[in-house]
Amino acid sequence: MPVLPVLTYPHPFLKTKVAESDPKDPQLLSVLRDMMDTMDHHAGCVGLAAPQLGHAYRCLIVDVSRSARAEENHGLLKLVNPVILESSQWKVSREGCLSFPDLLANVKRAQKIRFRALDGDLNPFEMVSSNFEAVAIQHELDHLDGILFLDRIRSSKDLFERRKAPSQPL
């Protein structure tokens, strides 16, 4: 099962809105597998959207349990055709993105969302998610609409270069 390269800006596909996926599409499950394998490959990655791998599918995966920041969460979530039904408790937090490896930005997101989607077995479900998990879902869902986190910056002081620690001498 392949680990696929993550598209980085300025790849034009990242700015493209993806149409709803057909649950009967035979490729859908293999797209989700590619996404899983790719997320596993990137330490610290807690979410991926299909368009980041060049797939025109409305799919995202998140698993914030992989992060030290995680509070209550549902572990691994595979979402196909997700739609947010309710959003509340807006708060600004700092985000990064595999498609912009050297940048961080403060972005305002709902800390509580109710959404519906198809799960990894393509069964419809509804869920309430909060805090970091809710933020991750909104970030990935934006990718399905061609919206990148830099598009959500609301002040000149909200963009940062990721300061990398010097690499460990071997």
């Binding site: 980085t8 300025p10 830099l150 910056i153």
Partner: protein, 179 residues
């Protein structure tokens, strides 16, 4: 009545610059007012407004600050701040975010679009980062706009500029949460 002085300084970054600077102004009875200090690659840059007791003059302050600056290896300018400008009518605060593949003229084109409409830039930051082998340029600027008609005209300019020079650009009102 306190007097205001503006200091700008830049030099090689190292630990202790802010400490030495704050100590010297503290000992002169000055307050650090508005300031912005940041790392620029390997350098450290300082923009600082200090208020001083009314009997403090520019020569004394400059004489006191110069050896500290020399010790820190910073080149600097110090000037007495002109009297405050008269209160202006409130304006509409907006933020413009621009990013794209680095090429000359990004700041100039967007700044010109603003100034042509009489829009004042109140804060501007730029970053050049390596985005997986591509030099990515990002520009964020805060502006103050007189009225909604000018906002609409600026939106139109931003929209046509982003297509012309092939960058992403979004203009949004600054959100204020009244609590």
């Amino acid at each position: 009545m306190r007097k205001f002085f503006e200091l700008s300084a830049v030099g090689q970054d190292r630990p202790g610059i802010v400490t030495a600077l704050a100590k010297s102004f503290f000992e002169l009875g000055c307050n650090l007012e508005d300031s912005s200090m940041t790392q620029l690659k390997g350098d450290f840059a300082i923009l600082l407004l200090v208020s001083a007791p009314a009997d403090q003059d520019w020569e004394t302050l400059k004489k006191a600050v110069t050896p500290v600056m020399n010790e820190l290896g910073l080149s600097f300018t110090l000037r007495e701040s002109p009297p405050a400008a008269p209160q202006r009518p409130p304006k509409l605060p907006y933020t413009l975010v621009v990013y794209g593949v680095d090429h000359p003229g990004i700041v100039y084109r967007f700044a010109k679009a603003a100034s042509d409409l009489g829009i004042n830039i109140t804060d501007l930051r730029t970053h050049v980062t390596d985005n997986n082998g591509v030099q990515l340029y990002s520009l964020t600027l805060d502006v103050e706009i007189d009225n909604f008609k000018t906002v609409q005209a600026f939106e139109k300019e931003v929209d046509s500029l982003k297509k012309e020079i092939q960058v992403e650009a979004t203009l949004n009102p600054v959100e204020t949460d009244e609590l």
